[in-house]
Amino acid sequence: MNVLQIARITFLEARWRKILWAVILLGLAFLLVFSTGFYFMWRDVTRSGLASAVSVLEPVNFFLLAGMYGIAFLGVALALLISVDTLAGEITSGTIQTLVTKPLRRWEVVAGKWLGLAVMLTAFIVLMCAALMGIIWIIGDYVPRNPVPAVLLIVLEGLIVLTLSILGGTRLGSLANGVVVFMLYGLAFIAGWIEQIGALLRNEAAINIGIVVSLLMPSEAMWRRAAYLLQPPAMSAFGMEATPFGASSAPSPLMVAYAAGYVAVMLLLAIRLFTTRDL
């Protein structure tokens, strides 16, 4: 009950701070730019006959992946921005003292904030992905394979970042927390590339670096599995999967389970660190 109350406050706070409106407007702008660009480019591609020539590769899929990648990145940025200040900022301002001296338990504060932000983030990613796939379907008459699991993976990627930044906020200041989480994300991104290229070159060391970093920060791995699920099987057959947005070495379902567990453990750790600290 208290968890829901805190989640509600967290949500209202985003509204009061006009974050909600900013996100809605920028999301619409993203979709507008994407659909306009896609419309004109796709017209050229179909006119030139290129599309039918390589139809087995489903060229429209490239646009889909690019758009989805954009949403995944926005999701990560949003996850970080809405959560980086949530505990850290309230600890600094002292507001947290009036909150945790209410008749509730500290774990409820962390869980409630996580829940409120997670719902917002999930809504954002799901709606954006749905809109993007709708645009592709209307203009390009194309529906990707496995849309639902792919979207869920992108949500999971956002939740990883969100949970890490809530965890950081229990002990770090806002700025330090933002820097640490974003660096981790960047690290995972680079390691993902090293692993991709390593897979193409059959380089064991590169692949292992990628795997180790994915275990430390599984965000990028979720995107790569999402991309793998979205792209046509013919891509892999042609060995052309290492486009900027595609995936050649796809993380296994086990990795997805690991990432889900990772989120749970980080959240529990955040609760633990928050309940044991002085305020």
């Binding site: 701070r17 507001t95 003292q97 909150l99 002085d278």
Partner: protein, 306 residues
């Protein structure tokens, strides 16, 4: 006992912020917790609220360990430092906190405007907290501390940043709370404020409890007496030494002599009067001086340095 601590202690590394504090606060009293900057007042309150984990010792508040929801339901708290969310209006802010107490919509509708009136913000409930002055924020904080009609209120320097009217109003609120049987734990270093509002006072210094008692208890004893007389000769003066040390001796412009005698307790006053008169002096005044809270405070502050 509403609050009881035994050897309550908090260390920050080398620094001992609160040292083996034994305190008890009874129901219905206004308890003043006095001390200089850094004495450990805020740290103590935070331990009593479960915000800070003690390094040692025991504390019970409303018969429960600090910070348990059952106790917090009946506790109000005004923190020392806070900057409330600037994008919220006072009403929304109070509404948010009232919900956390589980107050119904009806209760909130009735309670919040009444409280805003009580802290002198009646007309400003719809302004954003970011537009409030420091003193107005302080008042909102106070309203927040009273939302749940608490049985026990912790006020950490409630009048900091308030204008004289605001200070007076806070004193009035504390008086009203006492009238309602609410126990108030008041952290302050405004001695005059404590003097007029508190039933009992504790003085802390460097994390240690130096004095505790009612104002009358604390300020009695260790008196000095001022003797004003004409015709006090040296021999008479020397004879006063049996009651205490003479610390001041001066001629007044009207030709009398004013002598200050350090002594403990009031018991010897009649004997001193009889002695002075018996020695043939004309006694104009014999005035026992009770130390003010300020003098007591200063004396306590000086104690350990010596």
């Amino acid at each position: 006992m509403l609050i009881e601590t035994a050897r309550l202690r908090k260390e920050y590394g080398e620094l001992v912020a609160v040292q083996d504090l034994d305190l008890s606060v009874t129901e219905g009293e206004v308890f003043g917790f006095l001390g200089p900057n850094g004495a450990g007042k805020t740290t103590t309150v935070k331990m009593l609220l479960g915000l800070v984990k003690p390094s040692g010792g025991l504390a019970s508040v409303l018969g429960r360990p600090p910070g348990t929801p059952e106790a917090m339901r009946r506790i109000g708290f005004l923190p020392e430092h806070f900057r409330f969310p600037p994008w919220l209006t006072a009403r929304d802010f109070l509404d948010m906190h009232a919900r956390l107490y589980g107050m119904t919509a009806e209760a909130r509708r009735e309670r919040i405007p009444a409280l805003l009136d009580r802290v002198g913000l009646g007309g400003r409930g719809r302004s954003k907290l970011g537009e409030y002055s420091k003193g107005m924020q302080q008042r909102v904080g106070l309203a927040q501390a009273l939302l749940n009609r608490p049985a026990l209120v912790f006020l950490d320097e409630p009048t900091s940043g308030l204008d004289p009217v605001g200070r007076y109003e806070v004193r009035e609120i504390i008086r009203e709370l006492r009238g309602e049987g609410v126990t108030v734990f008041l952290n302050s270093h405004y001695l005059s404020e404590v003097e007029v509002t508190c039933d009992r006072v504790a003085i802390v210094k460097g994390g240690r409890l130096m004095r505790v008692g009612t104002l009358a208890e604390l300020t009695q004893g260790a008196n000095e007496v001022e003797i004003e007389a004409r015709g006090l000769d040296g021999e008479t003066l020397a004879g006063l030494a049996r009651w205490g040390e003479v610390t001041a001796d001066a001629e007044t412009p009207v030709g009398t002599r004013k002598v200050t005698l350090q002594m403990t307790g009031d018991d010897a006053l009649p004997q001193i009067a009889a002695y002075v008169v018996g020695r043939g002096a004309q006694l104009y005044a014999l005035t026992p001086q009770r130390p003010s809270l300020e003098e007591l405070f200063m004396r306590v502050m000086a104690e350990e340095r010596a």
